[in-house]
C-alpha cells in the first residue's frame, strides 16, 4: 500500500476518534449538570423533613412562642408543595418562581426561630437540639453547595461547548444552546436583615 495512503487513513481515523471524544465529553458534561440539579432537590427535601423534628423538640421548652413555630411549619409546608410542583415540572419558570418565594419565606421564618431559641439556654443545651441544629446547619450548607456545584457544572459545560473545536460540533450533536445558571430570586431576603420581635 502507498505510504501516503496509510498516513491519510491514520489521520482520518484519529480525526474520527477525536470527534467521538468531543461528542462523549458533551454528553458527560450535560449529564453531570443535570445530576447536580437533582441533588439540589434532594437537599431541599431533606431540609423540609428536618424542620418538623426541630419544632417538635423545641415545643417542650418554648410554649410561649407558638406563633413563631407555626410560622416555621406553615412556611415549610408551603415550600414543600412548591418543591413538588417544581420537581414535576422543572422547565416551568412559574413553578421555580413559586419555590424560590416559598424558600425565601422559610428562610426568614427559620432565622426568626433561631433568634428565639437563643433566649432558651436549656433548649440550646439539649442534646437532641444540638444534633438537630447541626443537621440543619449541614443541610443549609448542602443546599448552598449543591446549587454551587450545579452552577459550576453548567459553567464547565458551557465553556467546553463554546471552545474551539467543540463549538463546530456542539449544535450538530444536539447541544445548540448554553445551559442556564440557576439563580434563585432570594436576593431581597438576603439583603433584608432578620427582624427580631419578642
Amino acid at each position: 500500500m502507498d505510504l501516503s495512503l496509510i498516513i491519510f487513513l491514520v489521520i482520518v481515523v484519529a480525526a474520527i476518534f477525536y470527534i467521538v471524544s468531543i461528542y462523549n465529553q458533551l454528553v458527560t458534561l450535560k449529564n453531570r449538570y443535570q445530576n447536580a440539579f437533582s441533588q439540589i432537590e434532594v437537599q431541599l427535601k431533606r431540609r423540609y423533613d428536618l424542620i418538623p423534628n426541630l419544632v417538635e423538640t423545641a415545643k417542650g421548652y418554648m410554649n410561649h412562642e407558638r406563633e413563631t413555630m407555626e410560622a416555621v411549619i406553615n412556611a415549610r409546608n408551603e415550600a414543600l408543595t412548591g418543591l413538588k410542583n417544581a420537581a414535576s415540572n422543572p422547565s416551568d419558570p412559574a413553578a421555580i418562581q413559586q419555590l424560590a418565594g416559598a424558600e425565601g419565606a422559610l428562610q426568614g421564618a427559620l432565622s426568626k426561630f433561631n433568634v428565639v431559641v437563643e433566649a432558651y439556654p436549656e433548649l440550646k443545651a439539649n442534646e437532641n437540639m444540638m444534633q438537630l441544629t447541626e443537621e440543619l446547619t449541614t443541610t443549609e450548607n448542602r443546599v448552598a453547595f449543591s446549587r454551587q456545584a450545579f452552577n459550576d457544572a453548567v459553567t464547565a459545560f458551557n465553556t467546553y461547548r463554546q471552545t474551539f473545536p467543540p463549538v463546530f460540533f456542539a449544535a450538530k450533536f444536539g447541544h445548540p444552546d448554553d445551559a442556564s445558571l440557576l439563580e434563585f430570586d432570594d436576593s431581597p431576603q438576603i439583603q433584608a436583615a432578620p427582624t427580631v420581635s419578642f
Binding site: R32, N35, A36, Q39, Q43, K124, E127, M130, Q131, E134, E135, T137, T138, N141, R142, F145, S146, Q148, A149, D152, A153
Partner: protein, 648 residues
C-alpha cells in the same frame, strides 16, 4: 484570590515538571543501557582476545579490542540489551506500583486510623461527617468514608486511594479539636481536590518510577560487591573488574537519579498543594476558612506533625507538612507562609495561636476571634485561652455524666447490638426451638451476644411486623462496620437460626435474602448470575408460580386474588396464565423458581419485577407480606427496588 487562574497555573507547572521527570527517567534508562552494553562488549572482547590483551586490560582498560565497538553493536544486539535492562526496571516499577495501590482503606488503617461510624452520636464526629458530605456535594464526587487518627494531636488531614470510588479521608484528633466548621470545610475541600485531580495516582506513579531508579543503584551495589569478591578470589576470572566498574557507574546513576527524581517529585507535590488550596476555595467559595486553618497550624505547637511511623512514606498525602524536612528542596508541601499569602494576598503575617487543648464546641467561634485579635501578644493569648479553658471544664464533666437510656433506634446504630437485633428477628416463638437457637447464637462466639439478644428480645418481638423491614434498613450502616470474618460468622449463624426449627419459612428466607443483598457488596462478595433466559417465555412456569404466591398473600378473597394475578400476568405479557392453587406449590419450589428468575437477562428483570409490583398493588394497598416478598425477590434478582419508596 482568582482560584481558576491559580488552578490553571498549578496544573501547567505540574505538567512541565512531569515532562522533566519523564525526560530524566528516559535519559537514565538509556544511560544504563549504554553502560551495560559497553561492559558486555568489554567482557566479550576480552574472552575472545588472548591472555596478553587480558593482562593489558587489567592494567589500562584502554587496550586494543579484537573487534571494534561499532562492529560489535549491531542493532539487534543493542535492542536485546535494551529490552532486558528496561524489562528489569519495569518489573521493579510494577512491583512497587502494585504494592502501593492497595486502596485508601488500607493506607488509613496503616496510619493508625479507625473509621468514624456513620451513625455516631458524638457531635464532633457527626460534624466532620457532615462536612465531608457537604464537600462531596460541592465537588460532585461520591462520599468517601472518614477515618480518625485518634492518637494524633497534630493538626492534619489526608486523602488516600487511587480512584474516587476507593478514596478515604482521614483527620487527626487535633484537627477535630482545633478547627471550627468553616476551617474544617476548607481542609476537607483541599483533600477532595487531591482525590478529584488524581494526585494520589500521580504520586504513586512517581514513587514507583523512583523505585525503579533506586533499583538501578541497588543492582550497581550488588555488582560492585560481587565483582570485588570475585576478583579477590581469582584474579584470572573474567569480567570481575569490569563488573565492579559497571557497579560503581550504576550506583552513581541510581544515586543521581534518585536525587533529581526526589527533587522533582517534591516540586510536583508542592504544585499539587497549591492546586488543592485553590480548589478548596472554589468548592467552599470561602478563602477565610482554609487560610485560617493554615494560620492555626502555623501558630500551634505540635503543628501538623503526625507521629505514626508510616507517615514518612505517606507524607505527600497530608494537608500540612506531616514530617519535617531539613531543606525546603525536598519538602512535600510549600511553606505555610507562601500558601497563606497565595490565598490571602493581604495577609499581615500573623498566625493564630492555639493552645494544646480542646477548643469549645459552642464558644469556639468567639474564642477564635478574641485570639486572633490579640495574637500579636502571645502572653495575652495564653491568658485568654486559660480563661476559656477554666470556663469549659465544668461543662465537659456535665456532658459526660449525663447518660440517657437507649432506645431500639440507637441500638440499631451500634454494630454489636445491631447483630443482636437481627438475631432476634429470626428467633422462634416455640420454646424448644428458641433454646436451640440460643445455643447457636452462643456458638457464634461474639462475646456477650446472648445477653444482648435477650435484653433486646422484648423490644424486637413486640414490634409490629410491618416495621421489620425498616428495622433491618436501620441496622445496615452499623452491620457494614463489622469485619469480614465477623460477617461470615454472622451469616453462618443466621442460616443455623433459620434451620433450627427444621422448617424453611418464607419470611425467614425473605429477610435473609434482603440482608445478604445489601451487605454482601460491602464485604467484597459478588453474586454470580448467569444470564440464561433471553425471553420471558422460557421462565413462564416459574413466573406463574411466583406470581401466584404473591397473589395469595395479597388478599383473602378468591376473586381479588384472580384479578391481582391476571393484572400482573398481563403486565408481563402473558395473557393465558392461570392462578395456581396454594397446594400446587411448596416454599422450596417457590425459592427455586425465584432463583431461576434471577438467571434472566438484565433487561428482562425490571419488566418481571414491575409485573410483580402491579400484582401486589392491584388492590391499591401493599401489605407487609407483599412488601417483604417483593423486596426479597428483587434482592435475589439483584435488582434495585425503587418501588418500595413509592409504595409506602
Amino acid at each position: 484570590m482568582d482560584f481558576f487562574s491559580e488552578q490553571d497555573q498549578a496544573r501547567r507547572s505540574t505538567k512541565i515538571l512531569v515532562v522533566l521527570f519523564s525526560i530524566a527517567v528516559v535519559i537514565l534508562i538509556v544511560l544504563t543501557n549504554i553502560l551495560v552494553a559497553i561492559t558486555l562488549w568489554l567482557i566479550d572482547g576480552q574472552m575472545a582476545g588472548n591472555y596478553q590483551a587480558y593482562q593489558n586490560a587489567l592494567d589500562t582498560m584502554a587496550y586494543q579490542q579484537t573487534t571494534g565497538f561499532a562492529d560489535y553493536f549491531t542493532l539487534r544486539r543493542f535492542a536485546l540489551i535494551t529490552l532486558a535492562v528496561t524489562g528489569v526496571i519495569a518489573c521493579a516499577i510494577l512491583f512497587k506500583w502494585i504494592q502501593l495501590s492497595g486502596g485508601g482503606k488500607r493506607v488509613a488503617e496503616q496510619l493508625g486510623g479507625s473509621r468514624i461510624h456513620p451513625n455516631t452520636n458524638n457531635v464532633e464526629e457527626k460534624r466532620i461527617l457532615n462536612v465531608v458530605e457537604e464537600m462531596a456535594l460541592a465537588s460532585s464526587m461520591p462520599v468517601p468514608s472518614v477515618y480518625l487518627l485518634a492518637e494524633e494531636i497534630g493538626i492534619n488531614a489526608f486523602a488516600a486511594g487511587t480512584t474516587p470510588a476507593d478514596a478515604v479521608i482521614g483527620v487527626t484528633q487535633g484537627c477535630l479539636d482545633q478547627f471550627s466548621r468553616e476551617q474544617l470545610q476548607g481542609v476537607i475541600a483541599h483533600e477532595f481536590s487531591h482525590i478529584l485531580n488524581g494526585d494520589m495516582r500521580l504520586n504513586i506513579r512517581l514513587i514507583a518510577i523512583l523505585h525503579g531508579i533506586l533499583f538501578i543503584g541497588l543492582i550497581g551495589e550488588l555488582l560492585l560487591r560481587g565483582g570485588a569478591v570475585r576478583s579477590y578470589q581469582s584474579r584470572k576470572s573474567s569480567g570481575g573488574s569490569q563488573m565492579a566498574i559497571l557497579g560503581v557507574a550504576l550506583l552513581v546513576i541510581g544515586g543521581l537519579g534518585r536525587f533529581f527524581g526526589n527533587w522533582i517529585k517534591s516540586a510536583v507535590s508542592r504544585q499539587r498543594e497549591y492546586l488543592a488550596d485553590a480548589s478548596a476555595v472554589q468548592f467552599t467559595r470561602n478563602p477565610q476558612g482554609i487560610s485560617d486553618a493554615l494560620k492555626i497550624i502555623g501558630g500551634y505547637l505540635p503543628s501538623a506533625t503526625v507521629q505514626s511511623t508510616s507517615a514518612t512514606e505517606m507524607s505527600h498525602l497530608f494537608f500540612g507538612q506531616a514530617v519535617s524536612h531539613i531543606t525546603s528542596m525536598f519538602a512535600t508541601h510549600p511553606p505555610l507562609e507562601d500558601r497563606i499569602s497565595r490565598i490571602e494576598p493581604n495577609w499581615d503575617g500573623h498566625f493564630i495561636f492555639r493552645e494544646l487543648r480542646k477548643a469549645s464546641d459552642t464558644g469556639g467561634d468567639s474564642t477564635e476571634t478574641t485570639l486572633s485579635d490579640i495574637h500579636h501578644n502571645p502572653l495575652d493569648a495564653v491568658i485568654a485561652s486559660a480563661v476559656v479553658a477554666a470556663e469549659m471544664m465544668p461543662i465537659n464533666t456535665v456532658e459526660s455524666s449525663a447518660e440517657q437510656p437507649l432506645s431500639l433506634n440507637s441500638h440499631a446504630h451500634e454494630p454489636f447490638s445491631a447483630i443482636a437485633i437481627i438475631f432476634n428477628l429470626f428467633l422462634s416463638k416455640d420454646v424448644d426451638t428458641s433454646d436451640r437457637q440460643f445455643g447457636f447464637i452462643e456458638q457464634s462466639g461474639f462475646a456477650g451476644i446472648v445477653r444482648q439478644t435477650q435484653q433486646l428480645q422484648m423490644a424486637v418481638t413486640s414490634l409490629d411486623s410491618s416495621k421489620r423491614l425498616s428495622l433491618i434498613e436501620l441496622t445496615l450502616p452499623a452491620l457494614k462496620c463489622i469485619s469480614k470474618e465477623q460477617y461470615s460468622v454472622f451469616c453462618k449463624t443466621l442460616l443455623l437460626l433459620i434451620r433450627a426449627d427444621r422448617k424453611f419459612e418464607l419470611f425467614e428466607w425473605c429477610l435473609y435474602q434482603v440482608l445478604r443483598h445489601y451487605l454482601d457488596p460491602e464485604f467484597g462478595k459478588t453474586k454470580f448470575s448467569r444470564p440464561i433466559h433471553k425471553t420471558v417465555n422460557t421462565v413462564e412456569q416459574e413466573f406463574q408460580l411466583v406470581l401466584s404466591l404473591l397473589a395469595h398473600y395479597g388478599s383473602d378473597d378468591t376473586e381479588e386474588k384472580q384479578r391481582a394475578f391476571s393484572r400482573g400476568a398481563n403486565s408481563a405479557g402473558f395473557y393465558t396464565l392461570s392462578l395456581l392453587e396454594e397446594k400446587q406449590y411448596s416454599i422450596d419450589s417457590f425459592i427455586s423458581a425465584v432463583n431461576q428468575l434471577a438467571n434472566c437477562y438484565p433487561l428482562l428483570k425490571p419488566r418481571l419485577l414491575k409485573a410483580l409490583r402491579d400484582c401486589a398493588t392491584h388492590d391499591k394497598t401493599i401489605n407487609t407480606d407483599e412488601l417483604e416478598i417483593l423486596s426479597a425477590i428483587a434482592a435475589v434478582m439483584d435488582c434495585p427496588i425503587p418501588l418500595i419508596a413509592d409504595l409506602q
